[in-house]
Structure formats: C-alpha cells, structure tokens
C-alpha cells in the first residue's frame, strides 16, 4: 500500500497552499518528487495515489511523469550515475568517463548492476559545463571527473551501502 507519512502529508498540504484555490494540480511535479524520494521510482500505484491526493485523473499524472526525464518509471539502483554527454562535456572527455564506468561496473548505459547498487544513465546537459566531465549522484553533482575520481565515488557508494544495510 502506497501511503505518505503524516509528516509528508503535511508537506503536501504546505505545497498545495502555495497556489491559488482550485489550482492544486500545480503541486503535481513537487509531489512526484516527494514520492520518488520515498519509493525510489514511480509505479502506477504511486502515481494513482498522487492523483488521488490532488483530485485529478490518473492519466494527468502519467502524462506529466512520462514527460520529464528525472522521473524513474522503473526501479533503479540504489545509486544512479547520471553522466552528462552533451557538447561541452563531450569536448572535455565525457565519452572516456562513460566508457570507464561501464567497464568498472560491468554494465551498459541504462542498466543496473545485478546487486541492485548501481544504475548507469547518460543524460543531456545538467548545467555544469564549466566543471566537466560531470555526473549527478542523488541530490548532488560530482564534477571534474577523472578515472580516479570515479573509483573513489564507487568506493564511497559501496561503503555507504554497507552502512545503510
């Protein structure tokens, strides 16, 4: 059963209050972010739950969730490496970084390691062109990537996973 905690539901109400009366649909993207933080991805059940919270049709949620590239419509690994591959990152060597991550993790782009720890995704420009090559990992950016740095990040994730489990 998908259900937000009391605390989350208060947050939902706070978000809805930002908009004029009857315009609660505006809260849709913030709510999908909340749901994804909670469950890691957006299942149809989660989206239906969000539709219920906002009193809109489920299709209105599906339309939005599938439009924006940040929403995961399938389960992803605990750590998602979202590596930028657009022009400025490309001229700074992002291709090599992507190849290196593939080799280190033994997975292709769009795949998740069998242990469910890592997902590799290529993304388009994240606005860190001056700090290229880069990737997004959770809430933060990891910039000026080198092979050594990638190694460190992978180690760090493995360590964190151990602590969390």
């Amino acid at each position: 059963m998908i259900k937000f905690s009391e605390e989350k539901l208060n947050k939902v109400q706070e978000i809805i209050n930002r908009y004029p009366q009857g315009k609660q649909k505006s809260a849709l993207i913030p709510l999908l972010h909340l749901a994804q933080e909670e469950y890691g991805w957006l299942s149809a059940e989660t989206m239906d739950y969000v539709a219920g919270l906002l009193q809109i049709e489920p299709i209105e949620v599906y339309e939005v969730a599938t439009f924006y590239s940040m929403f995961n419509l399938k389960p992803v690994g605990k750590f998602m490496f979202e590596v930028c591959q657009t022009g400025p990152c490309m001229v700074s060597g992002s291709d090599n970084i992507i190849d290196y991550i593939k080799q280190r993790l033994g997975i292709g782009v769009g795949e998740t390691t069998p242990d469910g720890l890592f997902t590799l995704k290529t993304v388009e420009c994240l606005g860190a062109c001056g700090y290229a090559p880069m990737m997004q990992l959770g809430k933060h950016y990891r910039e000026h990537l080198t092979k050594d740095k990638v190694d460190q990040i992978i180690e760090e994730c493995r360590k964190n996973a151990g602590l969390l489990n």
Binding site: V64, Y68, F71
Partner: protein
C-alpha cells in the same frame, strides 16, 4: 579589472547567509524601492537602465514589465526563470548557489514593481541542492521582515516559492515553464495570448531570468541612468558569462561588455587561454543554440574589426559571419575537437528535449541527429550535407516555439563555416574514425579587401 555589480561580493566569506549579506549592504534596494519609489517608478528606472533579458533573447526588461496587463481585481505574478538548461550555460546556477539573497532581493523589488504578491522561482529539477539553498535564504528573508505581509510597513505583501522542474530543457521557454508550473507537460503555448495578458493560471504574468532579476538590485541602488553608462550601445550594464570547453580557467565571469573576445579568451583575468597549449579552433559564444564561429570570425568580424563581448558586436555580420550573445554560455573548442561530432551531440540534445508538439521540431530534430550520426561515424553521403541544410531550413521559423530555431541554427552554422570538415568525413570514412580534421584553415586570417 572590469566593473562588477553582481559578483562583487561573491567571494565574501559566508555571503550566503543573511547576516553577512545584509552587513555587506544587502536589501538596500528593497528599502529604497518600497519606501521611496512607486511601482511604476521602479519600472521606469529599469527602462532607463537599458537592461536586456539575460536568458538569451535579450528583450528589454523594462519594456516587458510595462506590457503587463493590470485588469482590476486579477492577481498578477512574477515568475523567475531558473530553468537554466542551455548547454554551455551555468551562470544562474553560480548566482543562486553563492548569492541566493541577491536573487531574492531582486525578486522582492521586481514583485513590488509588478504587483506580484505570490512570486515563483521555477528552478530546473536537477539543481536539487540549490533549491534547499534558496528555500533557506527565503526563510531568512522572511524572518527578517523582507517577505510576508506588510513589508517594511508599506502595506506590500509578497511571498516567494521555489518550484522544482523535473528534467526538461523546454521549460526554459516561458510558456512551457508556465504550463509546467501549472502541473502539466512542458508544451509551449501558442501565442498570442502572451503571458503578460494570460500567463500562469490565466493571470497576467512576467517571466524573467535569474540574472535579469538580480541586475535589478544594482539598477535600483545606483539608478538606471548610471547603470546605462556601463557598457556600450544597447549592451548596458554587466553580463555574466559562463565559460567552458577547452580553456584553462572555465567558470563564471562578470564582464562589462567592453572587452574584446580575444581578451576574454586569452587574458588571465578570464579564461586564461586554451588548455594544454593547444590552439583555438571554434567557439559557440552564447549557449549551444547560437551559431558556432571558426576562430578567425570569432576574434575579428568579417570586416576585419575587433569583435567584442557584447550583444551588437557578437551578432555583427548576422548569421552569415556573426553569432549571438544568447545566454552567455561560452563554449570553446580547441584544435583537437571535431565540429561534426560536436554538432551531432547538440542535435541529439535538441532531439531529446523537443516536446514533440509540433511536427517540424518533433520529426526534424530526430532526422538531423540520425544524419549527423551517420556522417560522424563515416557512413554519410555527400548529398547528406545539403539534405541537412534543407532540413534545418524547413524547421527554422516554422515551429511553435524557439526550440526549432535553437535546433536548426547550430547545424546551419556548422555547415556554413565547416563544410569542408563535413566533406572530409564523407570522403574519408575510415580515417575519420581514427583522427580529427584538426585546425585546418579555421584560424587563418580572413581576407579583407583594403
């Protein structure tokens, strides 16, 4: 050292915090505007400043504000466009990350001028940690009486909310942003009506870029006329440039629009020259959608005059031999870079970001990407180059929003200036996989008739 109006305090320790920001003279413009000026007087000051929208289009801000419809009894809104997504551009991020209170200060003044009691910052979803920074700063501003009801006892009420996007370049287009803010797909609206008449929730709305709104602070502090004295011609004030690519010192720089492009690239105050001792091949001076220029046309105009970092000079020669200031995303390519590959990644970007609403953009961007990929990987035909030209021509100007143009221009400019590099790829399908075309003649002096 050029004049700095926005980033002058960026290096002050703890400037992100309210106390430090206030101690350094922050929020003076709010006091001045709310206590001594009428809303229209604020707009007038912005008009006088000659400030042009810093998001890319360069539309005069004061004029945009004066277009806002003010029907009786209908709330109006100011929306800050922080959906910075144009490849090469990361100046707004820098501003929000290090000087959040500067943006908030500008937002309060602009909200006052426009009569917006609920103002929204629409920030790209990936800037998740910046959302926290902004929300924290908003909390501080509110706790200190700069936001909320009856600000400074003037009777003006204002709240600022941060809304995160979720990964869509198109939401930087103002009507797509409004759709997204309403909880919908980021499909640009068909204009008219313009947001100034019917914007978010069908209410009159002004959408301004982060840097534009931050610039309101020095404009109010120093007065519009003083601000207009900085810079040259219609390029008044200062502009943030985010420099990236193959340079020694990538980063965000504030320039006063009087410096030559050459100085910007090679001086130690700015980019510090081309990285690894290489030579300059090409540059996209205003974010990935503006025309790419070979080194020779970048540093000098076709007439042989020095090219400067401002709106007029960068666009000197039109699209035939010039480019645009755009968003200030300055992408430098060294002699080892392949223009075909670079153009391919940009075409892929625009295909990925097309909303899919109108046919020329939905179908055309994907087609261009496929052809560019073929040429890049040695599978192209000579006729593909003319075909690409024809496709971009049929997209440009025929779409609902400027994304079509943004996708067409880089392809057009790459073919216009680097056609021989494309032809080389076609003629050398094996060799192009192992080496790049190199600098070729792209830095040679242009022949200028005496």
């Amino acid at each position: 050292m050029g004049v700095k109006l926005l980033l002058d305090k960026a290096k002050v320790e703890g400037i992100r915090q309210y106390d430090v920001y206030r101690r350094e003279g922050g929020y003076r413009s709010v006091e001045k505007a709310l206590k001594t000026m009428s809303p229209d007087a604020v707009t007038e000051e912005v008009k006088k400043s000659g400030l042009r929208g810093r998001g890319g289009a360069g539309f005069p801000t004061g004029m945009k504000w004066s277009f806002l419809a003010k029907p009786e009894g209908v709330p109006r809104h100011l929306v800050c466009n922080a959906d910075e997504s144009e490849p090469g551009t990361f100046k707004d991020r820098f501003l929000m990350e290090f000087l959040p209170h500067l943006l908030i200060e500008g937002l309060i003044v602009a909200s006052y001028a426009l009569g917006s009691n609920a103002t929204y910052i629409y920030i790209r979803g990936e800037y998740a940690w910046i959302t926290d920074i902004l929300e924290h700063a908003i909390g501080e501003a509110k706790a200190n009486g700069w936001l909320g009801n009856n600000i400074l006892g003037t009777g003006f009420n204002c709240e600022i909310y941060v809304q995160r996007g979720a990964g869509a370049y198109i939401c930087g287009e103002e009507t797509a942003l409004i759709e997204s803010l309403e909880g919908k797909r980021g499909n640009p609206r068909i204009k008219p009506p313009f947001p100034a008449v019917k914007g978010v929730w069908d209410r009159p709305t002004v959408v301004n870029n982060v840097e534009t709104l931050a610039a309101v602070v020095p404009i109010i502090n120093m007065g519009g006329e003083e601000y207009a004295k900085i810079g040259v011609g219609k390029s008044t004030g200062t502009k943030l440039i985010s420099a990236c690519g193959n340079i020694n010192k990538p980063g965000v720089y504030e320039i006063d629009m009087t410096i030559p492009v050459e100085e910007f690239i090679y001086s130690d105050e700015y980019c510090g020259g081309i990285a690894n001792g290489k030579r300059l091949k090409a540059c996209i001076p205003g974010g990935s959608s503006v025309p790419i220029l070979p080194a020779n046309l970048l540093l000098k105009t076709a007439k042989g005059e020095t090219r400067y970092m401002n709106y007029e000079s960068l666009s000197d020669g039109g699209f035939a031999t010039g480019s645009m200031m755009g968003s200030g995303g300055f992408i430098v390519l060294d002699e080892d870079q392949c223009v075909v590959k670079n153009t391919y990644t940009l075409a892929r970007f625009y295909r990925h970001e097309s909303c899919g609403q109108c046919s020329p953009c939905r179908e055309g961007t994907g087609w261009m990407e496929k052809i560019l990929k073929a040429i890049e990987s040695g599978k192209g035909k000579m006729s593909d180059i003319d075909l690409l030209w024809d496709i971009q021509r049929k997209i440009e100007g025929n779409t609902i929003c400027p994304l079509g143009d943004a996708a067409a221009w880089p392809v057009a400019a790459a073919i216009r200036h680097f056609r021989d590099e494309f032809e080389w790829h076609v003629n050398n399908p094996q060799e192009c996989l192992t080496r790049n075309y190199g600098l070729a003649h792209y830095a040679d002096p242009i022949y200028t008739p005496a």
